[in-house]
Symmetry: C2
Subunit: 347 residues, 2 copies
C-alpha cells in the first residue's frame, strides 16, 4: 500500500543507460550488446523491476489482454471454457478481462465503450442461441469488431462478421439416436432449448433424419419452456410427460445440454421412473458432473476446451481469418444413462 514500484527511469539511471535501452532489454530486442544487456538485466533483477502494464499499454497502443464476453460463469460450461482460455492466454503472456452479459435488460453501452477503450488484443465471445440472437449483443459485437478481432464459440449465424467456432453435431446426434435404437428405444424426443433449436438447424435436422432413416416415429410436439438451465429441463420434462398421452411419451430423450439433462433426470425420478430402465437420457457438453450423476450421464462431447484454446490462439495469431468458421466434430461419450446392455428391457 505504501511502496512505489521502480520505474524504467530508475533502472536506466542505475544501469547508466537510457530508458530506451531498458525497454529493449525488457522486450528482448536483438539490438543490444550482450554486455549491456547483462548489465541492465542485473539491475532489473536486483530491483525485481517489472514495467507498468498501464504505461506500456498506453505507449504501445495495445494491451496483452483479451476481453471475454460470456453469459454467466455460474454455468459451469462457460466457466470451464473461460478457465481453459485463461490457461492458454496466460501461457502466452496474456490475461483476461471479464464481461458477463446482463441476463436481463440491455447491454450497457458504457461498458462496451469501456471495453473498447482498453485497447484489448481481441475479444472472445461465447454464448448459446439465446445470446447470439439478441439484437443488443449483435450490435455490441459489431461495434467491438471495429476495433479488435473477435473469435466466438457460438451457434453459427449469417453475417456474424467474425470467426465463429462450433461443432458439427450431425454425426454425434445420429450416433446418439442409433445408440438409443440399439438399446431398444422406439420413441425418442429432444428436450430443452428446443423452441429455437428445432427451427434453427443442424441439430434438429440430423435428429429427424436419423429417426426417419431408422423408421422411428417422431414424438408429437408439446409446450416447452425451451431454456437451457436445469430448472428448464425439469419443467420441460414435466410438460412432456403430462401433455403427451401415455402411448405418445418417449422412452428416451436427447437433451439440449447437460444441465437440462440434470433437471430432466430429477423430474423423471420424481415421477417414479427408473433411470435408465424406464427412461434413457442423453446430455450434451460432456461436463464434469456427467461422471457423477446416477446413472452416469451419456453425453455428447463438444471439445469445449479445445475450442477455447484454439480461440485464444486464433485471436493472437497475426493472420486472423475474418470470416471463416472453424468446425469441430463431436462424439458420443457413452456412460450408463441409456442402459448398459442390449436386452435388459422388454422390446
Amino acid at each position: 500500500m505504501e511502496e512505489r514500484k521502480a520505474t524504467i527511469y530508475d533502472i536506466a539511471r542505475e544501469a547508466g543507460v537510457s530508458a530506451a535501452t531498458v525497454t529493449r532489454v525488457m522486450n528482448g530486442s536483438p539490438n543490444v550488446r550482450p554486455a549491456t544487456r547483462e548489465k541492465v538485466q542485473r539491475v532489473i533483477d536486483a530491483h525485481g523491476y517489472a514495467p507498468s502494464t498501464v504505461a506500456r499499454d498506453l505507449g504501445s497502443g495495445s494491451s496483452k489482454t483479451i476481453g471475454i464476453i460470456l453469459p454467466s460463469l455460474r454455468n459451469p460450461y462457460y466457466a470451464a471454457l473461460v478457465s481453459a482460455a485463461d490457461d492458454e492466454a496466460r501461457q502466452r503472456g496474456y490475461s483476461l478481462w471479464l464481461y458477463q452479459l446482463p441476463r436481463e435488460g440491455e447491454i450497457d453501452s458504457a461498458v462496451v465503450e469501456n471495453l473498447i477503450s482498453r485497447r484489448l488484443s481481441g475479444a472472445f465471445f461465447m454464448g448459446g442461441f439465446y445470446d447470439v440472437d439478441r439484437p443488443d449483443l449483435r450490435e455490441m459485437l459489431s461495434r467491438i469488431g471495429k476495433y479488435m478481432p473477435i473469435v466466438a464459440i457460438c451457434p453459427p449465424r449469417e453475417n456474424l462478421g467474425f470467426v465463429c467456432m462450433f461443432n458439427d453435431l450431425n454425426s454425434a446426434i445420429r450416433q446418439a439416436v442409433r445408440h438409443l435404437h440399439l438399446l431398444g428405444h422406439q420413441r425418442i424426443a429432444m428436450l430443452g432449448g428446443a423452441a429455437r433449436l428445432l427451427d434453427s438447424g443442424q441439430r434438429a435436422v440430423a435428429f429427424v433424419d436419423e429417426l426417419r432413416y431408422l423408421r422411428l416415429p417422431e414424438v408429437p410436439e408439446f409446450e416447452r419452456v425451451g431454456g437451457g438451465s436445469a430448472a428448464d429441463g425439469e419443467q420441460d420434462a414435466y410438460r412432456m410427460m403430462t401433455q403427451l398421452r401415455p402411448e405418445e411419451r418417449p422412452t428416451a430423450v436427447l437433451c439440449y445440454n447437460d444441465l437440462v439433462a440434470l433437471g430432466a433426470m430429477k423430474q423423471f425420478r420424481q415421477m417414479g421412473l427408473r433411470l435408465p430402465e424406464d427412461m434413457a437420457v442423453i446430455g450434451c457438453d460432456n461436463q464434469f458432473f456427467c461422471d457423477y450423476t446416477a446413472p452416469p450421464l451419456t453425453s455428447i462431447d463438444m471439445q469445449a476446451e479445445e475450442h477455447a484454446r484454439s480461440a485464444i490462439r486464433e485471436l493472437l495469431s497475426t493472420t486472423v481469418n475474418h470470416s471463416a468458421a472453424i468446425v469441430r466434430s463431436s462424439t458420443l461419450v457413452v456412460r450408463e444413462s441409456c442402459g448398459v446392455k442390449l436386452g435388459w428391457r422388454k422390446l
Copy 2:
C-alpha cells in the same frame, strides 16, 4: 479494426473548451457552469465519446479494476464466487482481471509483478486449505498487499495481513451431526480434505465435540487422499470402506465439500450401497447441483455469494479494515441424502 476513437482533445476542440473541462464534465465535477457542461456533454454524446481507460489509469494512478486470484474456474464453487463478484463490481463501475493459480509448480513472480503493475484497486483472493497454506501463495499475497488492499475468502490463518472472510461452521456442523443422529445414525465420519482439515481447526473440533456430546463413537482413522475434488471423494470413500472393518464403517459421512460428496456418492453406489438407506451423505457449499443429485444432497450453505459481494464492497470502501476477519454463519440445508423421515431405517 480500422476506426480510431475520439480523444479528449477532439472533444475539447469541438466544444471550444480545454481538455481539463472535458475531464471535469466526464467526472461530474461540481465546478462547471451548467451551460458549459451542457455544451460539452452534447459533443460527448454526439461522438459517443468514452475516455481511454488506459490513459485514465496511467494519469490517475489507479484503475477501476479488481484482481481476482483463485484456484480454478473449473470448480463451480469458485466460478459462482467470481460471477457474484463480477456482478457486484460491475454495478459499481469496476471490472475484474482474472488470475487462476497454477495447480502445479510455483507461482510465476512475473505474473505477480504484472498484477501489481496494473494499479488495481484491490485484490480478491479465494482459496481453500490447499491454497492458502502454499508458501508461494503467501508470499505472493504479502507482496501484493504492499501495493493494494486485499480481501480474501479462505480458511482463517494467523498473520495473513489482510481481511479474511470465512464461516463459523460450528453450529452447522453440530446441526449436521444432530440431524444424522436423529435419523438414527451412530457412526459418522468426516470425508475428504481431511488430512489437514482435522488438525486445523473448527471444523473437526465442532464435529468431535458434538459426537462426544451425543455419546457417539469416533470412527477410526483410515488412509486418505484428502483432496477436495470429486475424484478425491471417490477414492477416500473407497479407502474408508475397504480399510475399516465392517463394524467400524460409518453409516453417514460429512464431506469436505459438495464435490467430494459427489464422488463419494458415486463410490458408495458402485459398492452397492443404497443412498440414503445404507449411507447418508452431507456435503458442504450448497452448490447448484445439490438439488439434482440422486438423492438430492443435504449440504451446508456457506453464503458464498454474500461473501463475494461483501468482499467487493469491502475492497471498494474507503475504510478498509486491514486485519479484521468477517465471519458469516452457515446453515444446514436439508434435502434427502440422509433420509427423509425418522424410522425408515432399522435402528
